[in-house]
């Protein structure tokens, strides 16, 4: 094989490998914020699923939330196969039950809200799953970066005295 052909082939293979790694990273690195609601689900197909007395949520061996009635907790998760352990006390003074939960998180959703009473009642996904939509707040008009004097001169940028200077 000619040197030039070999070089082109090598470059092509390298690009292919990099694209494959990038694609893999996009799948395994997708981050989600998972919210846990310990709230009563009212009137779902004529039934009410009551909030638990206490729920302790453990994700990756770390206790991320301790929820009383009507509480919401959260955890961040990288990837689509979400695992958590729930320690549920249904009624005051009752025994705690341990549940190991495996969920498949949808790739396209950033924030996922899980209603724990509905999830543990093994209801269909539509009952316990909803997308977290951040509240839209009116923000004060932000100064457009770069606007200033004609040459962008100023004490901050030019002397390198911006906030991050101490962090070089």
């Amino acid at each position: 094989m000619k040197v030039k052909t070999r070089r082109v082939l090598f470059a092509f293979l390298l690009v292919l490998v990099l694209v494959a790694v990038a694609a893999a990273m996009m799948v395994i690195g997708r981050g989600h914020t998972v919210y846990f609601d310990n709230k009563t689900l009212e009137d779902y197909q004529g039934q009410t699923y009551k909030a638990f007395e206490k729920v302790v949520v453990t994700v990756k061996d770390e206790q991320v939330a301790k929820l009383a009635k009507r509480d919401r907790g959260m955890s961040i998760w990288i990837g689509q196969n979400f695992k958590m352990i729930l320690e549920v006390t249904r009624e005051k003074g009752g025994e705690a039950e341990i549940h190991e939960i495996d969920l498949k998180l949808p790739y396209s959703v950033d924030g996922i809200v899980i209603n724990l009473p509905a999830l543990l009642a093994e209801l269909p996904e539509e009952a316990w799953f909803s997308e977290f939509v951040p509240a839209v707040t009116e923000e004060p008009a932000e100064e457009v970066p770069g606007e200033g004097d004609d040459f962008g001169l100023g004490l901050e940028g030019e002397l390198g005295l911006e906030d991050g200077l101490g962090d070089i």
Binding site: A22, G29, G31, H32, E139, P145, E156, I168
Partner: protein, 375 residues
């Protein structure tokens, strides 16, 4: 060897001091400032180790253009800009942790390589004035970067998340949070020794780059680069494609700078969109020069020593400034003034040394001619 032995010890010492004036000056400054700042040794060590992990990769990427005789590559900032665009996209796609860092590094390659190619081509048009050319290219490309980030992103390039977009609906905010990838490389395999956190994985990456540089110097391309760096005409006569070799050195430098910038940003945990890259080139060059490098000669050792000394000065200067004047802001100004000052000093010393060597060679030639005529 014998010639060296014949030189008196005093003269040799003077020569040593003259050759290492900048590192010696910084060692003295640090020695004076450390007790004034009053930091504990473990705090200083912790800070130095953190900053080494953060900056070494960026400083090492400057070695390639020096090898090819193109001086200090102020255009490493272009690689940083490429990395910042990649990091913005990764933050918008919500790819977190180590996969996010890896993806940002891969995505930065085409941006950095393209910008490096443009820079190398322009530098070839301005042979002998590479440093000032690369410095001005920075401003030129920075304008394009601002245009893309401020107007194209969100308007043409889709940006999904409002959290990184300006409230007007296009353009990227002044600061992009990288909280979900913060220190993910540094924490991987990290160990604590006497209260000092050592980011083992980051140091492994730096070590890999060092090994690559050592190996690369011995390859055909590395030898070509050194030959071009020593004398372009001779290299050309030897059949080396000088322009291509020089472009490759700049591309390698900008691509490595892109990787270095991703490592830097994951350590900091946020991206100052419009200013993040601005000072990087200057501070990395200053650090390399503080380590005893010159415009035409630099090694891995210079990068390590430079980062340690330069950042030691950065850590202790505000404390020392506060101790001397009662105002820590003076220390802030002092360290900025010193970093630019050291670049100026190193450039002047390099030029003075070059002229001295030239005049010495001229004198020797004249003396030889006189001797020949007398004979």
């Amino acid at each position: 060897m014998n010639g060296k032995k014949n030189i008196p010890a005093g003269k040799r010492l003077l020569e040593l001091v003259r050759n290492n004036a900048v590192p010696i000056m910084f060692i003295i400054i640090c020695a004076i400032f450390i007790p004034m700042a009053g930091f504990s040794p473990s705090y200083l060590l912790n800070e130095i180790v953190t900053r080494m992990g953060r900056n070494l990769f960026l400083v090492l990427c400057l070695l390639f253009p020096i090898m090819a005789g193109m001086g200090l590559n102020f255009a490493m900032t272009l690689g940083a800009m490429g990395a910042e665009i990649a990091v913005i996209l990764v933050a918008d796609w919500q790819i977190w942790g180590i996969p996010g860092v890896v993806l940002a590094m891969i995505l930065s390659i085409p941006f950095s390589a393209l910008l490096g190619f443009i820079c190398g081509t322009l530098q070839n048009m301005a042979k002998g004035r590479e440093m000032i050319t690369s410095y001005i290219i920075n401003f030129f490309i920075n304008g394009w970067y601002q245009l893309i980030v401020l107007y194209v992103m969100g308007a043409v390039i889709p940006i999904i998340h409002a959290s990184i977009m300006l409230p007007r609906g296009y353009g990227i905010r002044n600061t992009v949070s990288l909280l979900n990838m913060r220190q993910c490389l540094d924490d991987l395999l990290a160990i604590r020794v006497a209260g000092v956190k050592i980011p083992v994985f980051t140091f492994l990456l730096v070590g890999l780059l060092c090994l690559f540089i050592v190996w690369f110097r011995r390859t055909k391309l590395g030898q070509d680069m050194r030959a071009v760096g020593q004398d372009m005409e001779v290299a050309k006569a030897a059949g080396i494609n000088v322009d291509r070799t020089r472009i490759i050195s700049v591309v390698m430098s900008t691509v490595c700078a892109g990787f270095g910038m991703v490592i830097y940003l994951q350590n900091i945990g946020n991206l100052p969109t419009y200013t993040g890259h601005a000072q990087i080139g200057m501070f990395c060059i200053a650090a390399l020069l503080v380590g005893g490098a010159s415009v035409e000669k630099a090694g891995i050792g210079n990068a390590f020593l430079g980062v340690i000394l330069f950042h030691m000065m950065f850590i202790v200067a505000p404390g020392a400034g506060a101790f001397i004047t009662g105002d820590s802001m003076v220390g802030e100004y002092f360290r900025v003034f010193l970093s630019y000052g050291v670049i100026t000093l190193a450039l002047i010393m390099y030029e003075a040394k070059k002229r001295m060597a030239k005049s010495k060679a001229g004198q020797e030639l004249a003396a030889a001619q006189v001797k020949k005529e007398d004979a």
